[in-house]
Symmetry: D2
Subunit: 237 residues, 4 copies
């Protein structure tokens, strides 16, 4: 802080997720003017319904799924895609819904591999031309574990072909949504600093810019909306 | 309507913009169960802050601008992109903001070509490496008219190189946003029909599904938010 | 040249098309060690069957056509795309063949708008779901002229919806082909300089790196292979 | 064959790789008119320097690498991408060269994980902002094995973040190259059948359509050009 002062820096905008905002809050508590901007592809930050980077990461995952479906429909095997999100299943859930997955595996919901195999079998019996599983990297049954389980249990009847997107989802040209959100967030953050409002996070709530105290942001958890998970199950039928 | 009844059709979901929803409203007034879904890349439909297709069209326009900037920065000429939107400048405005245009020309705001040339000159003087103009197809000075004006007024000092996106913006793989919005709209529309709520449009207001009477949708106009246009001018500096 | 010597520059690699290579040849005639690398999206350079940038430009044009076909097939109007290439029809021809155009208009072949309308009509009669015209910017009937002709001759029965790609084709992330070709060209050019072979162009002939004297490159013309144009006509049936 | 005859089928074009062409050859030996078309993303088919699908697969891999480099340059860890190709390292080699990988691991060349770590360390010492490894799925040290090795040998000093593309590389919109090659291959194959030339494969040699007896295709191996592998090492410096 004294370092920042000596450099002639009078305020700071911290763009990031839980880790960065925890640091931002600590700096703010010491009296330095800090404004946070909600940015993480994991979308697990309290104070913003969606965060910078999520839309770009979703588009990258969907592009992969579009490509996978070509093969999925020509071979009778199951395709498994592991997406990012650390402990949060948001990216996997949205990817699964928008990509038309048969099964979605989340850290927030317990998964039984036997149940996964049953859902894949039923999908084929209903005449589906592909069997697609989307897995969050933070789920206990991530790509590697599920692959191994199916290899050790041949009686499940599916060979899993896995794709692990990894950091591919963190790069790429930002999407239109993310560019516009970034512009609005950046504009709101500098406005905040200019009018002397500090120690807050700029986020999006109900489609509007929202300002939430950093102390609240770092102490509360944003739960995953599981009604969407139930909708995904209805859609997969 | 009697035709629909004879076919055993008990309800209708009409996906479209002003034209389609005017038809939907007429059918509804005759007593047939109709629910509209807000869908047009022009984003000029009352009852929905954003409509299906807008996000995909925006991403396509931005991809074009990213490519144009490569040349823009290597030649000292101005690049002009005409985007769709009919009488509405929404697509052009958002494209211009997210793409970092020096000037945006909208149907809703009167444009002076001399002023455009002045803004391009000033951009170069401020050290900008490209001079990019985004034009809405519905503006009086659309791509063809502006190109001609600059050809007839050589003293303006800019050769305009034009790109007209045209129907390219209406195609393409739908973006993540549009797929998720389509899923939510579709789900809400069938829920409406199921519970006997007709003659309404499913749209998005404040990030939430909103239901608006079709009679209101077809009789009211959604104005363009010109505070964004002013923000675009600040950003271009 | 004395300028180059004074800067300690001992050799030059000139990456470009006819204009740049004419300069390279002039410099070479004065005795300075120059090696050219065949690079232009127009693909009109003698000494190389394909040039750097062509593959990227083709992919961009095809992406546009894929998007246009979505609309083309839902409306009964003709879609027209103007692609780059200056006086050379190569890009338009390849775009038209790979994109499945009904008609291709080139600078090298005289075009009759009445004939274009006839081909579009016949395409619909054969049950084609879209009517797509690809036009080279250097053709007499480019997008603007053909649009005007069809507007003034309503009896032709087609409303043309135009897309002009313009400089969009010159930007973009380079394709795999262009990156690998660039690597091979660059490697061959430095090898040439190192072994004292100057005044030549590095190009690709029959899938192999080929070295051609710059004097020949700048004095000869590479004609367009019109057997491909005839193949395009057969494919459009 | 009698089945084909009964269906009124007089000739067959078999599009595929080694497996499909072995079947094509067997059918041909029984006297049925068959022409093969060289198509596999593995590019391991004798009789064609490049095969249908390779260019599309390469572009998909490079797109992933472009996205990975964004993160690679912001964290000090190594990024590993596993690409397809079964027993053939062609896709990995070309991806590595065009994508600027520090290290490429192929089935055709023995790999020492200690050596990989050394190359990554040296890349950082030379000031490279990313450390990228491309691995062929058919190499002994594929993504999973190399990840495990680095986990068990912490002293190597690198945390590997892996991406496995898997079947993502087999889907996608075909690239311009592949569409044009497909058009040429298809045209040549039907010409062959029409003039009564059977039991051959249509491929590409030295940039020209080439016809090779299927018996030769299925009995010979196409070796990987390892001069390219050595060039990759020079480029990585």
């Amino acid at each position: 802080m004294t370092f920042l002062n000596r450099q002639g820096i009078e305020g700071l905008v911290v763009i990031g997720g839980n880790g960065s905002q925890t640091g931002a809050n600590a700096l703010s508590l010491k009296g330095f003017p800090v404004v946070g901007v909600a940015s993480t592809i994991d979308n697990d930050l309290y104070g913003s319904e969606t965060t910078l980077g999520v839309d770009t990461a979703l588009n990258i995952a969907l592009e992969a799924i579009d490509r996978l479906k070509v093969t999925a429909s020509s071979h009778q095997r199951a395709i498994l895609v592991e997406v990012m999100g650390r402990g949060c299943g948001y990216l996997a859930l949205m990817t699964g819904i928008a990509g038309g997955a048969e099964t979605i595996i989340l850290p927030e919901v317990e998964t039984n591999p036997e149940e996964v195999a049953k859902e894949l079998r039923e999908a084929y019996q209903r005449g589906k031309s592909h069997a697609l599983v989307v897995v969050a990297e933070g789920a206990y049954y991530n790509a590697r574990r599920l692959e191994q389980y199916f290899q050790e249990h041949r009686e499940l009847g599916f060979e899993l072909r896995i794709t692990i997107l990894g950091y591919v989802q963190r790069g790429g040209t930002p999407s239109a949504c993310d560019r516009l959100l970034g512009t609005r967030f950046g504009s709101a953050a500098t406005d905040c600093l200019a009018r002397g409002e500090h120690g807050v996070l700029i986020g999006l709530l109900q489609g509007r810019i929202a300002v939430t105290p950093l102390s609240e942001v770092v102490s509360k958890k944003k739960p995953l909306d599981l009604t969407l998970w139930r909708m995904a199950h209805v859609l997969a039928r």
